[in-house]
């Protein structure tokens, strides 16, 4: 049964063969009340105030080495302000913030989540701080930022199929999600968990919407190795533990491939789930100035180029160049993202998933 919330056109759009790129993304960033505060430049006064606070606490779901690189690059630009990275899966980040806030513990300054639905909840709960860095105001399309200035798309990634080139020949590699259901992949697949990873939550929603839950029902019969983080399948591929990942971060595959690891991305014929990871800061941030400075830094061309070059992410900043050797985002057929739907159906997706995969 199709959920009536989505028009047939949405679904067709999502699965149509045409390149969608990012122009059609996101119900997420539209708002009835367009009341974003004016853009704020990074002033010496802000830097001074941030330095007085001396630190910023960043909860993020981006892969740890990359998160620490972002932190180090911020610390290099603004000496005297230490970044403490708190990395776990997006769904855990969400749970942790909920848990802390319900106990009135305000430890987090800035947040990044690969499940954009979380920002809908935080915004609705009124715990986000409106703040629009100059870069966001000038360079980010309306589709890619919150109309009320609460958050903007820090990173874009894909959840892709990939394989270990030592274990699988290119011609034998799967070309689509349907290919993964071939009996020859029994015991050879690995995938991450939507109860942990925001990327996989988003991807599971999109795939179950466009391919139907039958796809997951069949996939669950393939003896899949179940890991938690979307960063883990590419790492296990590189180790040679499994031959093919059914889902996982594109950016880790890039990182491993570009450092000589035996992995190769696959862009599925049905389309690849598109994952948007916004950044925001909190109203009750313990280091409000450092939080602003950090948020501004995250959307600067420097940082955006860093997450692309080193991290293998996709950026929405128009000044950022894609790295040579990677398939440009606009050439990839992606599934349509819909954070609002993920927000509504998250629990159902989790329950359905654990019923099928037993964990």
């Amino acid at each position: 049964m199709r959920r009536s919330k989505f028009s047939r056109r949405d679904i067709l759009k999502g699965s149509s063969a045409l390149t969608l790129g990012l122009s059609s993304t996101s119900v997420l960033f539209t708002s009835v009340l367009a009341a974003a505060p004016p853009a704020e430049a990074v002033t010496p006064a802000l830097i001074e105030a941030a330095k007085k606070e001396g630190k910023v606490v960043y909860y993020t779901s981006v892969d740890l080495p990359l998160a620490e690189k972002i932190a180090k690059s911020f610390e290099a630009k603004y000496p005297g302000i230490a970044v403490r990275v708190e990395r776990t899966g997006a769904e855990r980040v969400f749970q942790r913030i909920g848990q802390e806030y319900s106990s009135k513990i305000y430890a987090v300054d800035a947040v990044n989540s690969s499940d954009a639905a979380h920002f809908i909840v935080w915004k609705r709960d009124g715990i986000l701080q409106p703040y629009v860095p100059e870069d966001v105001a000038k360079h980010y399309a309306a589709d890619h930022k919150d109309a009320d200035g609460m958050f903007a798309a820090f990173r874009v990634g894909l959840s892709i199929i990939a394989y270990n080139t030592k274990l699988v020949k290119a011609e034998e590699a799967p070309k689509s999600h349907a290919d993964l259901l071939d009996p020859k992949w029994i015991g050879k697949l690995i995938k991450a968990h939507p109860g942990y990873s925001g990327t996989i939550m988003t991807a599971t929603y999109q795939l179950s919407r466009d391919l139907g839950w039958e796809y997951f029902e069949k996939l669950a019969q393939q003896g899949v190795m179940q890991v938690q983080s979307a960063s883990d399948p590419p790492k296990k591929l590189a180790l040679g533990e499994r031959a093919v990942q059914a889902d996982g971060n594109e950016y880790n595959v890039f990182q491993i491939k570009e450092s000589g690891g035996p992995v190769e991305p696959v862009y599925a014929a049905e389309g690849t789930p598109l994952v948007i990871g916004p950044n925001g800061i909190f109203k009750n941030a313990p280091n409000p100035n450092a939080a602003r400075l950090f948020q501004a830094f995250c959307f600067s061309p420097d940082c955006q180029q860093l997450i692309v070059d080193v991290g293998g992410q996709r950026s929405l900043h128009p000044q950022v160049k894609e790295k040579a050797g990677r398939k440009p985002l606009n050439d990839i057929k992606t599934l349509k993202d819909d954070a609002a739907a993920v927000e509504k159906m998250g629990e159902e997706i989790r329950a359905h998933y654990s019923k099928l995969f037993k964990v």
Partner: protein, 573 residues
């Protein structure tokens, strides 16, 4: 000084025991420590998310296969682990305590090493060794036999694999209990048997084994409970294999949106089962004399093994390969290798992993600081608590001492993660807002380490016959003086060993910590668990090795403290 006072005061006051006030104070603290979170647990188990009393949590628990399956899995897992541990550890304990096998001291040290190895670290190391495709052992197997690329010798991501790994780090509990019992059993009973014409086998069957039996049974029980309440190893190995144990199931119930009611209900059967087992243990052991260290004593008798001496050593070290040598080797390999599944060579040797942990990972320093503070505080407070409670219960010093003993043992039945929730519920509201501070973790670790510490101290107390104290008191000493001059010196090594025991237990605690930590109060075990979920095996290896070095450092330090007669021996673990 005490005597001088007692001579001056009137005779009626002489009888008043000031220690009693202190003792009741401790009792109260214990009640608060354990009863408060447990009450919340029970309350939640019987309430519905919308409030109100209900049995629906239990109906779901015993009707839905998503709960029944983990329940059965856990029971089978705990039973098989317990049996394996006894089969492996009891003979080893005997070899080390009662034979002339060479390298006995080294064997004990190695068992200690496996004891102090955090089970989750062992599980991760065994992933490196026996993951079906990338595991080093399976790679070696394919190279040596020419087996095809997807063939494997071991699959650690399986029920058998999980049982094996848990047994690897649980058997020391049985070993230590057995070896200790045999160490303490005086040789004169066996001598008597020999003198009266009993053969070596008769002596073993009629004297040694019955004397060791309580320890084996107690060990089996501890192993069962340990396996039942373990969280880290199942979370690491069972989830990739596609099944849940009770602990991982309970943990998964706290994923968003959290269902504490169901989790509390799922924890209660474990609690009840443990209570029953403890009752059973009491019935088995209750009638037997435990006191083997009295006023008269003689050395244990050593059995000569003859030609079997070296095969016995081989057997012990063959067993120790699994919990110690192989996993440590795998961790070292991963720490210095560019790719964790490749054996170190000139091409892939790297210091990058170490650099990453110390200079790039921003959580490292704080996690170490928190772990240290908590380890020391928990060990100190836990030992004091255990000491007092075991004194009260073994000497039956206060009315209601049985309740105290029960309370001190009860946390063994509470999966850390559930205690974590109980504490979370208790200490996130006024007047005690402790969440987000190290205090709540301290309470959790203290509660969790209490049963083990209590068991240690209790067996130490039990092995000292009250006749020694009684003699002192008959001669006019107060209870405090008897404690200070008779009991304390006899207990010193046990106290220090318990301190170390609690310390190493605390720094490896994961399941409660994972519920209670915030970014400011992260500990190393949680950091390692986080890293495992994103597959950063190299960083884990570095952190794990550092953790092991710290642990061994503490143990060695305790070992070097020369108190009274000689060094503290690790046998007291």
């Amino acid at each position: 000084m005490t005597i001088a006072i007692s001579e001056q005061v009137p005779r009626t006051v002489h009888g008043f025991d000031y220690t009693r006030v202190v003792l009741y104070g401790f009792a109260l603290a214990l009640v608060l420590l354990i009863v408060l979170p447990m009450s919340w647990l029970v309350y939640y188990a019987f309430s519905s998310p919308s409030g109100g009393i209900t049995l629906s949590n239990f109906t779901r628990l015993f009707s839905e296969s998503t709960f029944i399956d983990p329940l059965i899995t856990t029971f089978v897992l705990a039973t098989s682990t317990s049996v394996i541990c006894c089969i492996v550890a009891a003979p080893m304990g005997w070899l080390v305590a009662r034979t002339d096998m060479p390298l006995r001291r080294t064997t004990r040290l190695m068992v200690t090493a496996s004891f102090v190895t955090p089970p989750f670290l062992g599980a991760i190391a065994w992933e490196l060794l026996a993951a079906p495709n990338s595991g080093l052992i399976n790679q070696a197997y394919r190279v040596l036999t020419g087996a095809p690329a997807d063939d494997h010798l071991f699959n650690i991501y399986s029920f058998a694999g999980l049982t094996f790994v848990i047994a690897c780090y649980t058997f020391p509990y049985v070993f230590v209990l057995v070896a200790n019992a045999l160490d303490r059993t005086p040789g004169d009973l066996e001598d008597a048997s020999s003198i009266l014409g009993g053969s070596a086998w008769d002596t073993a069957r009629r004297v040694t084994i019955p004397l060791a039996m309580p320890a084996v049974l107690a060990g089996a029980l501890v192993a069962f409970l340990q396996a039942m309440t373990l969280f880290g190893s199942p979370a690491i190995l069972a989830l990739p294999a596609g099944f849940h144990t009770m602990t991982t199931k309970i943990w998964s119930l706290f994923q968003y949106p959290p269902k504490p009611e169901l989790a509390a209900a799922a924890a209660l059967p474990l609690l009840i089962l443990t209570v029953l087992l403890l009752r059973a243990e009491h019935m088995i052991l209750g009638r037997r004399g435990y006191a083997v260290l009295g006023g008269k004593n003689s050395d244990p008798r050593i059995v000569p093994l003859g030609v079997l001496r070296w095969p016995a050593v081989l057997l012990c070290f063959g067993i120790l390969l699994c919990p110690v040598f192989l996993p440590y080797g795998a961790l070292f390999n991963a720490a210095f290798s560019r790719i964790a599944s490749q054996v170190i060579s000139i091409n892939n040797f790297t210091f990058h992993n170490i650099y990453f942990v110390f200079f790039e990972l921003s959580a490292t320093k704080l996690a170490f600081y928190n772990t240290f503070v908590l380890g020391i505080a928990t060990a100190t407070l836990g030992t004091i608590l255990a000491l007092v409670i075991s004194y009260l219960t073994t000497r039956q010093a206060v009315a209601g001492h049985r309740v105290l003993g029960f309370l001190a043992t009860a946390p063994v039945a509470i999966p850390g993660i559930v205690l974590g929730v109980g504490l979370f519920l208790s200490y996130t509201r006024p007047p005690f807002v402790l969440y987000g501070t190290l205090w709540i973790l301290l309470l959790a670790f203290l509660t969790l380490s209490l049963p083990a510490a209590y068991q240690q101290m209790q067996s130490a107390f039990r092995s000292i016959h009250p006749e020694l104290e009684d003699a002192s008191r008959i001669l006019g000493a107060t209870r405090l003086r008897a404690l200070r001059e008779i009991t304390a010196p006899l207990l010193r090594t046990s106290v220090i060993a318990t301190w170390c025991f609690v310390f190493v237990g605390t720094i490896r605690e994961l399941s409660a910590a994972i519920m209670l930590f915030t970014s400011e109060t992260k500990v190393i075990s949680v950091l390692i668990f986080d890293l495992n979920e994103s597959g950063d095996l190299a960083a884990i290896s570095v952190l794990g090795i550092i953790m092991l070095i710290i642990t061994f450092g503490i143990v060695a330090l305790a070992n070097r403290l020369r108190i009274g007669g000689g060094p503290v021996r690790l046998r007291n673990y």
